[in-house]
Symmetry: C2
Subunit: 300 residues, 2 copies
């Protein structure tokens, strides 16, 4: 196993958090008309919070492949914009009805529901505005490929489809293969897209992306198992959102199906497996492997 | 003025309605899992209704420039997917709270609010899935340009931004230039994008698109003035949605600012002006000009 002791993951997170905040600040100037409230809501949701796991996955993959940081950060902001729009809509009263997100009020609480719907929609569009901007990526094939990857990861065959399956989980009784499929769509697709987009920026051909895809699939599943564990064992203040909701709602999760210890062992096995897929990259993969470890062991 | 008497606009509308329904039917197979409800909601919203003005604008522009119908229909479905997602979200209880759309129940009434939010989000993503699919458009520059045009027309500097300004219009007192700007964003941006995307498919360079852009700007404004007139004078059953809502809400519209006759004259002047911009295309522009006339004179 690659030695990750030299990786300063805290510093990498701090840096990506600053960088992503910086790009959103630049992308979201507050206009001098009645759209002010919309853009303020978009800034509230995108800036000054969040672990930025997806941006770090994308930037770390790109960095491993020798891509300059600036275009990688742009692509990372597009992924984060999609993630944040989904959180805003997910938190709405008609969905999960949450008041707290990333330690702050949710958008519909800090603003209002209509603004939350439209701020989510505007962030959704912003993601594709970023990816198709020739100032971000000069090569049209790269722009089209990045946009294609993110669109298919976020729609009905990705994140949004997974959210629908998750909503239906309250009434349906799902077994482990179904829960796995659900989570691959709901969370896994966007995590995988982050890695894939780093590989696209690194000009890897689809067949050359296979090891990174396998890494991303395992990390995605480990991420969700860790999330289910946090819902059972996490501290609300540290996690930054409500915990214990799954069991309150009687939902099937990896933890209800495998038990706490089983789930923890499974997520660690996935982490080892994920690291194994990156063997060909040697010590260049140290940051991605450290990130996989963090995802499994995190308390937030 | 170009003779449009040979144009069978009714037949063109019937054909585009059938074609767009056909492409959505192909793009939205009902899955055999708990995403079924989501996809059924997407089908409810996209198929079997709507005038398809935006698709016809796009396809007519493309046809005038010698583009094959199949790729034009794909791009047209992407625009329509964005339009329909915006209607679904606009109809939500926290927004306009409408029960009726295109003569059918709105999505949150026929299904539920959460499904409506996610069906809108999924259609939003679908638009970019279509545009970045290399099976639709082989040239990567075309894919990236189409996606860029649609993303910027639908986000905070386009449709969504216009919707926010429209919501604020209930409390703010807008003058004519502000209402014009609002409508250019809310409705005009997507109508203009439809024409622009036809021009992109026709391989017109940005400088060569100027006459078509001018046509689209005038048509967009005329469209909204006609919409405001319908809200005052239209028949709910023919229009297919609630009428009289603007005045109930005490909103400023083109009609309140210009009067019924003033608004009607203005929309006719815009139609003549729109037709004038297409002089260089001679009789090839007959369908686009007939469409501009329809937009001004429509009763639905």
């Amino acid at each position: 196993m690659v030695d990750t002791s030299g990786i300063k993951l805290d510093a990498a997170f701090t840096q990506i958090q600053q960088d992503i905040d910086g790009v959103f600040d630049e992308l979201l100037p507050v206009p001098n008309d009645t759209r002010r409230r919309l853009v303020e809501a978009m800034r509230h949701a995108t800036m000054g919070g969040g672990k930025r796991v997806r941006p770090l996955l994308l930037v770390a993959t790109a960095e491993m492949l020798g891509v300059a940081r600036d275009p990688a950060l742009r692509a990372a902001c597009a992924v984060e914009a999609i993630h944040v729009y989904s959180l805003i809509h997910d938190d709405l009263p008609c969905m999960d009805d949450d008041d707290l997100r990333r330690g702050k009020l949710t958008v519909h609480k800090a603003f209002d529901e209509a603004t939350a719907v439209l701020a989510g929609d505007s962030l959704h569009a912003l993601a594709f505005e970023i990816l198709t901007d020739e100032r971000s990526f000069t090569d049209p094939f790269t722009r089209a490929e990045l946009a294609r990857t993110l669109a298919s990861a976020s729609g009905m065959n990705g994140m949004a489809g997974g959210q629908v399956m998750d909503m239906a989980a309250d009434s349906a009784t799902y077994d482990l293969p179904t829960i796995t499929r659900l989570q691959q769509l709901k969370t896994g697709a966007l995590l995988a897209a982050s890695v894939e987009m780093g590989a696209i920026l690194g000009k890897l051909q689809p067949e050359g992306r296979a090891p990174l895809r396998s890494y991303a699939r395992d990390v995605g599943l480990a991420f969700q198992i860790a999330d289910d564990l946090l819902d059972v064992e996490g501290d609300e203040e540290t996690v930054g959102k409500a915990v214990g909701k799954d069991s309150e709602q009687g939902k099937q999760t990896f933890v209800t199906l495998m038990g706490v210890e089983g789930a923890r062992n499974q997520s660690r096995a996935l982490m080892d497996q994920a690291a194994g897929h990156l063997a060909q990259y040697g010590s260049d993969a140290a940051l991605l492997i450290a990130l996989a470890k963090f995802i499994v062991e995190r308390d937030r």
